[in-house]
Amino acid sequence: MQRDLVLRASTGDHDAFASLATDAYGRLHRTARLILRREDLASDAVQEALTSAWLHIRAVRDPDRFDAWLNRLVVRACYTELRRAKRGPIEIHVDSIEAPGVEDATGDLADRDQLERGFRRLSAEHRAVLVVHHYLGLPDAEAATVLDVPMGTYKSRLNRAHLSLRAALEADARVAGIGKESVA
C-alpha cells in the first residue's frame, strides 16, 4: 500500500503524498519533539522535512525505504532547527513530556523530572541517537543510515549517549543530595 502511494507520489500525485504525510506525521512529530524538546521547533522541523520530501520525492529509488528516508529527513531537519535556534534569541520553552507511570515503573533509577533534566543536558546528536534507538526502534544499520553516520560511529555514539545520560542523572542526583544536606 505504502509502496503504491510512494510510486504515485513520485509521479506528482499530491493526494498520494498527502496520505503518506498524514500517516507518518505523528511519528515524525514525536521524533522531532523528543530530539528538540520544543514544540515549536518540532513543528518547524517536521514541516521542513515533509516539504523537502515532496520536493525530492523523485529521488526515492527504493519505495520500501521511504520511511527510513523520512526519518533521515526529520533528524536532519532537527539539526537545522537547532542551528537556527542558536542564531536567534534563545527562548526556552519547557515542554514537559507526559509519561504517566514511568516513575513508578522505574523505581529508584530516575523519576520523570530527573529524566527530563538529564535528557536536556545531552547534546542534540546524543538525544537523536537515543530517540532513534529507543523510540523508533530501528535496527542498527538503519539507525546509522538515519543519523547519516557509519555503523561503528552509531554504536559508539549510542554507548556514549547512554553513558552521558547516566552521568547527567547521577550528577543531578548529587546536586539534589548536596542541596538536601545544606538545607538540613
Binding site: G12, A21, T22, Y25, R33, R37, S43, D44, E48, L50, T51, L55, H56, R58, A59, V60, R61, R72, L73, R76, A85, K86, I92, V94, I97, A99, G101, V102, A105, T106, L109, R112, L115, E116, R117, R121, L122, S123, A124, E125, H134, Y135, G137, P139, D140, T145, D148, V149, G152, K155, S156, R160, H162, S164, R166, A167, A171, R174, V175, A176
Partner: protein
C-alpha cells in the same frame, strides 16, 4: 538486572509514554503549501538530505565582520608567531628522548572503576608489549566528574580525554542553559608524568570527539547544543581561541574535520554544501579541498566510502563492492569483491587514491588487511579471527608506516589488534585506541620502562559465533520485561553448506508483534513476514527488526554456512511490563531449530 538495562527500559517507557497528539496545523500547512508546487525532476533530487533547505549565507560570523585587511594580516602574523613558538616548544620537548625507538607507538586508554576509579593510559610498543604511562584518576581532577576512555592522542604525545558528567550546581534546577559546558576536555602530557592535566573548560564535547590538526592544535566542540563554536587549544602554550561556526559540523552527527594545512575547520551548510571556516577568524570559504582525518573516514573533498552490502542504499547490485562517494553524490568503485571474501570495513589512507580494507578470509576465520594504492591491491597481513569479535574496523596506519591498528568490537568493550608490518606477529589489546605517537616523542615515556607481554591472537582462526537463543531472549527480557516469545528459530553455520534454503519459523503462540534477526557469517540472510522483507549482510553482530501481524508464515532465506537467530515477541508494554519479572517459561524455553520448509 543491570543499571544499563534499567536505563534502557526507562527511556523506552518514557518515550513510548509520550502520547500527546501532535498539533494538526503543521501537517495541514505542509499539505496545503505543497499542493501548488511540483516535485523536482529526478536528476536534481538526490536521495539523502543534504539538499534540505536553502543555502544560507547570512549566518552570524563572530570575529570576522568588519575586519580590515591590515587587521587580518596582523592576526595571521600573530597566529604564525604562535604556531612557530608552539613548534619550537614542541621541538625542545622532543629532542631529548631516552633511547630512540624504531617505530611509532600506539596509545590505549582503559576505564577502570576499581578502588580508585579513573583511566589508565597505556602505550603499546612495536613488539606489542604494554607500558602503563600514567593513570588519571577521577579524584585527581576535582569537581569534574568521570574521565571517559574516549580519547585521541597527538603525534607529539598529548592526549585529549573526554570528561563525562561534570556536575554543575545550576543545571539540576534550571534545566537547559546553553551557556554551560558540562563536558570539558582534559589534555594530558604523556611525556611529563608529574604535570597536571590541563582542563580546557571552554570545550563541551558532548560526544563529539576532539580532533588533532596537522599542526599540533586540537579542536573541540564548544557549543552547548550543536557545535556553533569550536575551541582551538594549543597544548604547548596552553592558549585557546574560540572559532564561531556559522555552519554545522560535518555529518548527520557532527564531526570535526581539519583542512589538510591546519588552517581551518570544515563545516556543512544547510543546503548540504561544504564551507571551510578559517581558525584565524577569516571569512568562510566555499568548498573544501584536502582534509586531515587521522581516522580515515573522510578523504579529499570530504569523500567517504561505502560498502554495497544488502543494507546499504547503493544504486545497482548489493555485490559487496566498495565505492568512493564524493560530496556531490557521484561514486566510483574502488574495490570489487571476488569470491566469498567480503569487505568488512574500509578507510582512507594518507595518499591520494590510497585505501585500507579489512576483508573476510577463509570463511570468516581470518581477516585480511588490504592496501589499495597506485592502482594495486596488496594483502599486507592476514590475522586469525577470534569468535568473540563481533565487529572489525578498517586498519589505521601509523604515520611512519610501521604498523596497522584495527579496531575490534568485543561485546561492549573496545579493543584493537596491532599488526606490525615487519612480519612480527599481531597482538591484541583492550581499551580505546587513541592513536599513534611519533617514535621520537614516545621515547620520553616508553623507553626503558618495564612492559607487560602482549596478548596474542588465536593460533587458529575461529569462525563467526552468535549468542544462543536463550541468551538473546534473556537479554531482551531484561530490557523489556513482560514480553512474550511468540516464536523462535536458529541455525548454526555448517562449513561448506553454501546452498541457499528457505526455513519457516515455527510459532509457539499466535499474535502480532515484533521480531529480531541476528546473523553472522559469510552470506546474507533475508527474513520475510507478509509483504515485509529485511536483509542483513551478517557482517557484524546486531539485530535487525521486523514486524509480524500474526498471520501468515515468517520465513528465513539463508545459506547453511551462516549462523542466524530469529525471535518474535509480543509488542512491548513498558509500564505494565516493567513491574513484572520475566516469566520462567520464556527464559528457559528450549532452543528450536527451524526445519527446512517443504
Amino acid at each position: 538486572m543491570t543499571a544499563q538495562n534499567d536505563l534502557d527500559r526507562t527511556l523506552g517507557a518514557w518515550f513510548d509514554g509520550d502520547a500527546i497528539a501532535p498539533p494538526p496545523e503543521p501537517l495541514a500547512h505542509v499539505i496545503e503549501s505543497t499542493r501548488t508546487i511540483r516535485p523536482r525532476p529526478a536528476l536534481t533530487a538526490r536521495i539523502g538530505s543534504r539538499w534540505v533547505g536553502a543555502r544560507s549565507t547570512s549566518g552570524p560570523w563572530i570575529g570576522s565582520a568588519g575586519l580590515r585587511p591590515v587587521t587580518v594580516v596582523a592576526l595571521v602574523a600573530l597566529l604564525a608567531i604562535a604556531l612557530l613558538g608552539a613548534v619550537l616548544l614542541a621541538g625542545s620537548r622532543l629532542i631529548a628522548p631516552k633511547t630512540p625507538l624504531d617505530s611509532d607507538v600506539a596509545i590505549f586508554v582503559r576505564r577502570d572503576d576499581g578502588a580508585e576509579p579513573g583511566v589508565s593510559i597505556v602505550a603499546v610498543r612495536p613488539d606489542g608489549s604494554e607500558v602503563l604511562v600514567r593513570r588519571v584518576t577521577d579524584s585527581s581532577v576535582p569537581g569534574l566528574g568521570v574521565s571517559s576512555d574516549y580519547s585521541t592522542v597527538s603525534e607529539s604525545g598529548w592526549l585529549a580525554l573526554e570528561v563525562v558528567g561534570k556536575p554543575h550546581p545550576s543545571i539540576g534546577n534550571r534545566g537547559i542553559n546553553t551557556s554551560e559546558k558540562p563536558w570539558p576536555m582534559l589534555l594530558v602530557d604523556l611525556a611529563d608524568r608529574q604535570a597536571e592535566p590541563w582542563v580546557v573548560d571552554q570545550a563541551s564535547l558532548g560526544g563529539i570527539g576532539p580532533r588533532w590538526g596537522p599542526t599540533g592544535l586540537v579542536a573541540a566542540n564548544a557549543g552547548a547544543v550543536l557545535g556553533s563554536f569550536v575551541v582551538i587549544a594549543d597544548p604547548e602554550t596552553r592558549t585557546t581561541r574560540m572559532v564561531s561556526m556559522p555552519v554545522g559540523l560535518v555529518g548527520g552527527g557532527p564531526s570535526i574535520i581539519w583542512t589538510a594545512d591546519g588552517s581551518g575547520i570544515v563545516g556543512s551548510t544547510e543546503s548540504g554544501a561544504y564551507d571551510t571556516i578559517p581558525i584565524d577568524g577569516g571569512e568562510p570559504r566555499s568548498g573544501v579541498g584536502e582534509v586531515f582525518d587521522q581516522r580515515g573516514v573522510y578523504g579529499s573533498g570530504l569523500a567517504n566510502l561505502r560498502i554495497c552490502s544488502p543494507d546499504e542504499n547503493c544504486p545497482g547490485a548489493s555485490d559487496g563492492r566498495i565505492e568512493r562517494v564524493e560530496s556531490d553524490g557521484s561514486a566510483k568503485t574502488i574495490w570489487q569483491q571476488v569470491g566469498n571474501d567480503r569487505a568488512l570495513a574500509a578507510g582512507f589512507g594518507s595518499g591520494a587514491d590510497e585505501y585500507w580494507l579489512s576483508v573476510d578470509h577463509d570463511q570468516g576465520r581470518q581477516v585480511a588487511l588490504i592496501h589499495l594504492h597506485d592502482g594495486r591491491q596488496d594483502t599486507v597481513a592476514t590475522v586469525n579471527r577470534d569468535a568473540a569479535w563481533q565487529y572489525v574496523g578498517a586498519p589505521t596506519e601509523a604515520a611512519d608506516g610501521s604498523s596497522l591498528m584495527v579496531w575490534i568490537g568485543v561485546g561492549d568493550k573496545p579493543a584493537a589488534i596491532l599488526v606490525p608490518l615487519n612480519g612480527a606477529p599481531p597482538t591484541f589489546h583492550t581499551g580505546n585506541f587513541a592513536g599513534f605517537v611519533d617514535r621520537a616523542a614516545a621515547a620520553a615515556f616508553v623507553s626503558g620502562e618495564p612492559g607487560t607481554p602482549a596478548q596474542t591472537l588465536p593460533a587458529a582462526g575461529e569462525a563467526y559465533a552468535l549468542p544462543s537463543l536463550d541468551e538473546l531472549i534473556a537479554a531482551e527480557l531484561r530490557l523489556n520485561p513482560g514480553r512474550t516469545v511468540l516464536g523462535k528459530a536458529s541455525h548454526d553455520a555448517v562449513d561448506g553448506e553454501t546452498d541457499r534454503r528457505t526455513f519457516e519459523v515455527p510459532r509457539d503462540r499466535p499474535g502480532a508483534g515484533e521480531g529480531y534477526l541476528d546473523c553472522l557469517g559469510p552470506s546474507s540472510v533475508t527474513i520475510t513476514s507478509g509483504a515485509q522483507s529485511t536483509t542483513s549482510p551478517c557482517l557484524s553482530a546486531g539485530s535487525y527488526g521486523f514486524t509480524t501481524d500474526g498471520t501468515g508464515p515468517i520465513t528465513v532465506s539463508a545459506s547453511g554456512d551462516t549462523s542466524w537467530r530469529v525471535v518474535m515477541y509480543s509488542s512491548p508494554s513498558p509500564v505494565e511490563g516493567a513491574t513484572e519479572p520475566p516469566t520462567p517459561t520464556t527464559t528457559t524455553a528450549p532452543t528450536v531449530t527451524a526445519k527446512p520448509a517443504s
